[in-house]
């Protein structure tokens, strides 16, 4: 049997560039997608015997474009173009044209493609689904599985998204500097959403949803390749890598989530951590701080601690403070409070979150953290009320199980100091 895995890897890595160039050419997402599909099919047929072309992306763009033109001509009963078997990537003039067009524009082409899929007019769920379908080339059943919906529902979601951006009219001229950075920011936001979609999954869903994290990382790498000196993009990739590095340690054999302080750190992926730390260091050298850099720096501090008790909580509390100033949100304050509780004790932390009670009343982690602070302050009665509220709001069985553990501890040794609770953000 021929091993075609290498072809799949080449096609996967070339895909964003190919679809982006074809989109620029056809100015129609469906046409671009179909042309890419056709080119990939021909590659699968020809490459095992002919070997891969020197520039796979250029070959696919060329073949995809010809295939589409060919189809149009066939419909008009005109002569077909030469077969792609005769396209040589060494001596073909047209291939040079593709090359030229591409080298000059492919960065903005790919950004445009990403931006079209991440268009602000689309709801987040549609953005993510569309990016996975068009840019990553995942099949509808694959995406449906990852989102835990039926194939028909996913098909409909993607069709709706396409119809919506069809009318959105994203201009095809090269964007100006301001517009370019707005597009980068929009794409970055969707990639992080995509990552979190996979990251917050329960263990039962892990297999199907891990692909979301992996795709988010792959697309973030692509974005960083396009914009290698953007500290926020360096940090976004770092943040994903540092969190994803803990994947194997996040669930125990029974499928319960294992919180950060209790994770077996030898199960963390050292290679991903190494890359993440290097990127954080790179980003900070720019001295242009941003929210992803702060979050990546926090993740880096967790990664650098060999044991949970070595964690530099004071520094993490400071970083959350900085994040709070950039992006004020009660959830960030809650995370800061957790760090403060480790650094300065539960009293300061509790005082910090009491004003959030109104805004975060429906939030599982708020009550979980509040219960943990109260427990530490030996206010068992109030802790129980908070934990009961948290259980009622738990999103997954694992979350509920974790709180139940705290409640058991509370019942078993009333008044004694229990294990501290960690919001999932840090797990």
């Amino acid at each position: 049997m021929t091993d075609t895995r290498w072809i799949n890897a080449v096609l996967t890595s070339a895909r964003p560039r190919v679809v982006a160039a074809l989109l620029r050419h056809f100015r129609d997402l469906d046409k671009a997608e179909e042309a890419c599909q056709e080119a990939c099919l021909r590659a699968l047929r020809l490459w095992p015997t002919q070997g891969p072309p020197r520039d796979a992306a250029a070959w696919l763009i060329m073949v995809g474009r010809n295939a589409a033109i060919d189809a149009t001509r066939r419909q008009r009963r005109l002569t077909a173009l030469p077969d792609e078997d005769t396209i040589s990537d060494l001596s073909d003039n047209e291939s040079a044209t593709v090359e030229r067009l591409d080298a000059a524009d492919y960065r903005d082409d790919i950004l445009r493609l990403l931006f079209v899929c991440c268009h602000p007019e689309l709801p987040a769920t549609q953005q993510i689904a569309l990016a996975l379908r068009i840019v990553s080339g995942l099949s509808v059943p694959q995406i449906a599985r990852a989102f835990l919906v039926t194939e028909a529902a996913m098909e409909q979601r993607i069709t709706r998204a396409k119809r919506r951006i069809g009318g959105a009219n994203v201009p095809f001229e090269a964007p100006g500097a301001v517009e370019r950075s707005e597009r980068i920011a929009a794409v970055a936001g969707v990639l992080y959403l995509l990552f979190n979609e996979g990251y917050t999954s329960d263990v039962a869903e892990q297999g199907a949803r891990a692909v979301l994290c992996e795709e988010a990382i792959r697309l973030a790498r692509l974005l960083l390749h396009l914009f290698p000196v953007e500290p926020e993009i360096q940090a976004l990739l770092a943040l994903m890598l540092l969190q994803h590095a803990r994947a194997d340690a996040r669930f125990d054999d029974d499928g319960n989530s294992v919180l950060l302080p209790n994770q077996d750190r030898s199960q963390w992926n050292g290679k991903l951590i190494g890359e993440g730390l290097a990127l954080v260091d790179k980003a900070f050298r720019h001295r242009r701080p941003g929210p992803y850099q702060i979050q990546a720096a926090i993740a880096a501090l967790h990664s650098r601690a060999t044991r949970a008790e070595d964690t530099d909580w004071a520094q993490i509390a400071l970083l959350y403070g900085a994040l709070e100033q950039m992006q004020p949100s009660p959830v960030v304050t809650l995370n800061r409070a957790v760090a403060v509780s480790k650094a300065d004790g539960p009293a300061a932390a509790l005082a910090m979150i009491e004003p959030l009670a109104g805004q975060l009343d429906g939030y599982f982690y708020f009550h979980g953290a509040r219960g943990a602070f109260l427990l530490e302050l030996e206010r068992a009665g109030e802790a129980k009320v908070a934990f009961d509220r948290a259980i009622a709001l738990a999103n997954t069985p694992a979350e509920a199980a974790h709180i139940r553990l705290q409640l058991d501890r509370l019942a078993g040794s009333s008044g004694s100091v229990g294990k501290r609770k960690e919001p999932a953000k840090n797990s």
Partner: protein, 123 residues
């Protein structure tokens, strides 16, 4: 004569390998490496992390400048390398700067190592 064998590939493609594929390739390579190691012929082996994690110290000017990415000029060739154990990028850069002071011209690319075997495996 010792030979350095430099590994080139398209990192976008290698990054698109599935974990299973990557593991399979590494396992097959390990078999070849072990044979050479048993003969006492294999020195250190390193797999570098992607170029997006690289930083370059250009030392063809005074003072040298630090830029993101691997931006060696095409007229420059790879002439050698160091493996330096640094706590962070700043420390690695400090070492590179020291080297640059006594050997200006060209550039040093500072790239984290993802996998390192010291070559002292039992024969």
């Amino acid at each position: 004569m010792q030979y350095a064998i430099l590994c080139y590939h398209d990192e976008n493609v290698v990054c698109a390998w599935s974990k299973e594929h990557d593991d399979a390739v590494m396992a097959k390579l390990a078999v070849v490496q072990e044979k050479a190691a048993r003969q006492g012929k294999l020195g250190p082996v390193a797999r570098l992390l992607p170029t997006t994690a690289a930083t370059t110290l250009r030392k063809d000017r005074e003072p040298p400048v630090i830029i993101d990415g691997p931006f060696a000029e095409t007229k420059e060739q790879l002439l050698g390398f160091y493996i330096y154990d640094a706590e962070n990028l700043e420390e690695a850069l400090a070492f590179a700067r020291e080297l640059a002071e006594v050997n200006p011209g060209g550039s040093y690319e500072i790239r984290p190592v993802g996998l390192f075997k010291d070559g002292k495996q039992a024969p």
